[in-house]
Symmetry: C2
Subunit: 362 residues, 2 copies
């Protein structure tokens, strides 16, 4: 084993034998996936036997079992792809998203559905809702929240007028860095970045580079490319872009909110059973009278249902009405949640379950 060459040969032989076993197991898994289709006997499209709660459960077990050396994220990614291939043996899932291809939204689609699904780039978030409703897309992926900038109103408003159900959530974490040819902030006169990224780092820029000019460009990658060719400029982009474009990271995690995450919702046409770690999104309309909000919220507290988010929107259905988007922990089948909704009955004008779905994976 001391001769590097023979040692390398031995390692490669070992890897070959591992690959043989992995391949046999993947093939066996694909056969069992066909068996699931057969047992369910529902039809020939992936949508007929795709079960988000089951996928979430499988991936959670993957994370629990993982002891490296691959990160949880990489290991989950590989299992997503294996499941994606197994599922796509029948007609693959069709997933609509805000196009064009290559955007952040497409990344969310791939993170959630893998590369064997068909991606369907659409022109607007509204169109994603329409295509799902019309059945042209099996699912849609829409951005709903940016941790720096709050809820994305257009997405929330579309739930008011559509029948869409939420079947999942996807989180993409982005850390913004200040990248430059320079080693320090000194001498940086211009900062390039996508308008949204500049916005996300506004406070940091005002404090640390008050006199630099901020220039919005078509993408962060474009900004990094521009910054590479000048020595008095910097770009806002992810650390990966710094490595790719050979720029130094002058400052890390410069976004105003340290947990800069974009949250996407997976929308579909039906509700799914519990996965064991779920979240429920509710749309509750109340008449605008004193104490209405309190009356709506107190059943959750009473029944020990923990609330994760609340956002109010004027409901377009009638004057003086308000709609609350409320996310709570648990599945709609949970007794405590059922009881809370029952308590709420006399108070709320309308309670719609937008969906119960697995909590996002890393």
């Amino acid at each position: 084993m001391n001769d590097p060459k023979s040692s390398l040969t031995q390692v490669r032989d070992r890897i070959d034998s591992i690959d043989r076993q992995i391949q046999e197991l993947i093939s066996e898994r694909a056969n069992w996936a066909r068996e699931v289709a057969r047992v369910k006997g529902e039809g020939l499209s992936a949508i007929d036997y795709y079960r988000p709660e089951r996928e979430a459960h499988v991936l959670r077990m993957v994370v629990d079992r993982n002891h490296g050396p691959l990160s949880d994220t990489e290991m989950v990614r590989l299992f997503r792809e294996i499941m994606s291939s197994c599922l796509a043996q029948e007609d693959p899932l069709k997933v609509g998203y805000l196009g064009p291809e290559g955007t952040f939204s497409e990344q969310a689609v791939r993170k959630h559905f893998g590369h064997a699904a068909y991606g369907l780039p659409l022109g607007s978030i509204e169109e994603v809702f329409q295509e799902v409703a019309a059945g042209h897309a099996d699912f849609g992926v829409v951005p709903v929240e940016n941790s720096g900038q709050g809820m994305i109103q257009i997405t929330l408003d579309l739930f008011l007028t559509s029948e869409a159900r939420i079947c999942g959530e996807v989180e993409l974490r982005v850390h913004q860095c200040l990248l430059s040819q320079r080693e320090s902030l000194e001498g940086i006169k211009r900062v390039y970045g996508h308008a949204q990224s500049l916005q996300q780092c506004k406070t940091w820029l005002r404090v640390n580079l008050p006199s630099a000019e901020c220039i919005a460009v078509s993408s962060n990658a474009e900004g990094a490319r521009l910054a590479r060719h000048t020595d008095d400029a910097a770009a806002i982009a992810g650390a990966a872009a710094g490595k790719v474009y050979g720029l130094k990271t002058v400052a890390d995690a410069i976004e105003d909110r340290a947990d800069n995450t974009t949250r996407f919702l997976v929308i579909g046409r039906s509700l799914f059973p519990p996965s064991g770690n779920d979240r429920t999104s509710l749309l509750i309309t109340v008449n605008d009278k004193p104490g209405a909000l309190y009356d709506v919220l107190s059943p959750f507290a009473k029944r020990n249902v923990s609330m994760n988010r609340i956002e109010s929107r004027p409901a377009h259905t009638g004057k003086w009405q308000y709609a609350f988007f409320i996310d709570v922990s648990g599945h709609i089948d949970d007794e405590s949640l059922q009881a809370a909704l029952k308590d709420m009955g006399p108070v709320a004008e309308q309670v719609r379950v937008l969906g119960s779905y697995p909590v996002a994976l890393p």
Copy 2:
């Protein structure tokens, strides 16, 4: 096993146990990949121990062993991703390509390097060569041939003036379909498609839809979207787009050449050892005198080296010189190829080995 529900539970238990084994094996594989890095002891970047000939060998074994139910393409894709994750434990590979993201070129990058590599979208093919030469990118992926339209001259010309080496080839196969809301050609007055796709189907369109207007749009997906909203239009796009956009396939494989493949080259800075099934690309310059081409080619025939492609270009280095791009079967280390090049010595002005690399996988 006759109760569908308990039968489903049993199948899922079986899948869980398979997943457990797959995960254990992938982790073990990742550990051995680290061991390769340690044995080689060359450094900490993926480029230091990435070996295309080894990857090709591993994937060829995957194809040989594959007995379904997954297709060779899907199984190769999964192993690409597993290798990609294992390799990216160190600093991932940086791969330049003709951007923006979401293009055909990016698909070629992902097909060859998987999703754990960093993709570096660039503004031109020339820039891909430059970034590889400067070491900002470890590899580049450039289109070199479309089976319908022949060699891509700009890429060939860049080899004349650069030191780039060819380290691999990637083939993407595309079948074009005519998609429409209509069931037949009758009544189709307009055909949307990307300019290149319209070009690839020119003959078919002239014969079958002589009076239809051809309208170039930004992408085939865009064309399919437009066609969905009108009943006298059609779009040229892949079959997948038809499924995604809910259009009928009026005609299949309408490209003028039935084997419509785009071939990409992977460029880098060094030559790699044989993988067992290789191709060699040569750049041979000759003075323009009678019989020069024949003199250059006869050594290949004599030494039983089979030629796959030849393309002549005026060399920019001197007047009256011609450059031949010649692809032959085999690796530059093969005796027969060595002998042929030796024979050629007195005839050719210059012989440059652009690269010996594994033949593209499915």
